[in-house]
Symmetry: C2
């Protein structure tokens, strides 16, 4: 096996933490001696051991503590992200790697946090450990898009989602919009929900659709074991939502609910009201969400809400489900923006993935101009 293969394995391990590590990054770690993997681990859950510590533990479990200590000394370690150098929930990993006297560290990317960025590496080099940064850099960046966005933009990673017809419509004028996408698409959208910390809709959508805003997938569909728990995303509503019959599903269940409006800030039970008097409250609001560990949100509509995020360039990803039907020119647009002055000046996205769900297509775009 080659360096690239070991790093690819570290990335593969990291992904196992996808549903449970936020707001932390996904991290995988592989310890190699004489071209053989002697230990591997990943960050499994927010607040629990980091990947490096779990890799050391796995080595000890396999070889016994004494032999493991001897093996790790002089080993090569592969990790997708710079080892931490600051004590937070757990002791810093850089210290452990120094203590165990590893020989060489391959790390995919530096930590984007300005307080850490390169500091862990510096510590390791100072201790005589050879460090190589940048192996599978692109893949390591891609893996932790959420974490990197949190660190660099001081806001949650934002995914906009919409369904639309071939002619870009989401509903008839009558308001009828039910099930323009296929059951397969709708199921897939629950997978997206499972990967975010919050689901956001505007007041109109909440009142019109009475959505439950929960992940409705079985544990095995999410790759979770029976004993694992999926924390439901926080339900986030923009606008002053009346606790009427209409929105009964949002208030059902125990998920945390955040409502952003002009109403005075208050908290009762699982509901928190955030108060914003300024009309341009979106940036502040997003920062407030991040402060509450909501590191990623899925914005599900309606049109006005989606428009607002796009116009303010506050999104990282757009997911479109396109159903193979025409709803007509006068039906309701899925997204409704002002026209650019020229085609050259129009907002362009990067297409990153296309998938098929029955007769629908799902296309995923990145906003590369954040």
């Amino acid at each position: 096996m080659k360096d690239l293969d070991f790093m690819a394995r570290a990335i593969e391990l990291a992904k196992k933490g996808q549903l449970k590590v936020q707001p932390n990054p996904m991290v995988g770690c592989v310890i190699v001696k004489n071209n053989k993997i002697i230990g591997e681990g990943w960050h499994q859950e927010y607040g629990k051991n980091h990947a490096e510590i779990n890799a050391i533990k796995s080595c000890k479990k396999k070889f016994g503590t004494n032999k493991a200590i001897k093996l790790i000394a002089g080993s090569d370690v592969y990790v997708n992200l710079e080892p931490c150098s600051i004590e937070r929930n757990t002791p810093p990993c850089s210290n452990a790697l120094i203590e165990y006297q590893i020989k060489k560290l391959f790390c995919g990317t530096l930590d984007p946090n300005p307080k850490i960025n390169g500091r862990g590496i510096k510590l390791l080099r100072k201790a005589g450990i050879e460090v190589k940064v940048g192996l599978l850099k692109k893949e390591c960046n891609e893996l932790n898009r959420i974490f990197f966005t949190n660190q660099k933009q001081s806001r949650p990673y934002i995914i906009l989602k919409s369904a639309q017809s071939l002619d870009g419509k989401i509903a008839l004028k009558s308001g009828e919009s039910s099930w323009i996408s296929s059951p397969e698409s709708r199921k897939n959208s629950h997978h997206i929900r499972s990967m975010v910390k919050g689901i956001l809709v505007g007041r109109n959508t909440a009142e019109q659709d009475n959505p439950s805003l929960t992940v409705r997938l079985a544990k095995n569909e999410l790759g979770l074991t029976k004993n694992e728990v999926l924390e439901q995303p926080v339900k986030i509503i923009i606008g002053n939502l009346k606790k009427s019959k209409k929105v009964s599903k949002i208030f059902a269940g125990k998920s945390k609910i955040i409502i952003a409006s002009k109403q005075p800030a208050k908290k009762f039970g699982n509901i928190e009201y955030l108060e914003y008097k300024n009309k341009n409250f979106l940036k502040k609001f997003l920062q407030d969400l991040l402060d509450r560990n909501i590191s990623s949100i899925l914005v599900e509509g309606g049109q006005k809400t989606l428009n607002t995020f796009i116009v303010n360039n506050l999104f990282d990803e757009l997911v479109l489900y396109t159903a193979p039907m025409f709803l007509g020119a006068k039906s309701k647009d899925a997204i409704s923006l002002n026209a650019p002055d020229s085609i050259k000046a129009s907002k362009k996205l990067k297409m990153v993935k296309q998938e098929k769900f029955k007769d629908d297509i799902k296309t995923t775009y990145y906003n590369t101009n954040v």
Copy 2:
């Protein structure tokens, strides 16, 4: 090898005729003796030998005439379409198969032409040849969608093509529409042009865009050898087009041009005017195109022309290139239809293929409700 493998090979061979057999169907033929292929051929060009005859010829070339005659006697023959039983450009293939005393015929589909449908099979069975119909039927039908449409609908196979933004727009209000799709998409659209016998645009599009309506691909890009000639598609315009400077590109070159309008019918040089006094002339016009051996057309726009074909349910395929940009709600719709009464009543298509061309996606839909 199994029956299915031999039929799959026949289909593979048939496809080699794709660019040159229309209005004939694509046909491939495989002759098998003792589970070994002893001859294979395909219909290579309109007016030339049919697949069965070419397969017999290839057997003779390989084994010499006398040995070939002995080998073919008692053999199994695989052909995707029912062998012809009517003398047209070439003697009927059914006769040849009887003459050469094959034992068994596997054929994928019957000939959709009501005059033939099953007649070839009947002849063969009468002569004591065992016939099995329906092997890889779905694939054989798919292969000859164009031919089947011609026979059943008495009109060309119709492909509608458009490019659009994520919000379903094709141009800014100013009319600016240049290059919303990527060079890769535009190149791919020339491959579609190469597979049809005619390219159709409305008068407005012709006058506004001054398109050349030709296939601009090198022979090797089309899989043609140096000596092969690609016949350019006929240029078809709906509406009374003035031979002004604006449309200079349409009238450049030697391709045949058909103009459908209220102008009196006339012919001069490579240009033919077809006269239609009735406003609802589309069906008659399409039949007139088929009578001129135009078995497939690509409708490239503009919006009004596309609308007309969709509203009249006169299309078999829709190809959409979607560019990753927003052009705004008030920009020009790519397709502009009336809204259905309900989502259930909306026109639904079948998604059959999605491809990627740089950041554009290309989606191909079939109209299953023809």
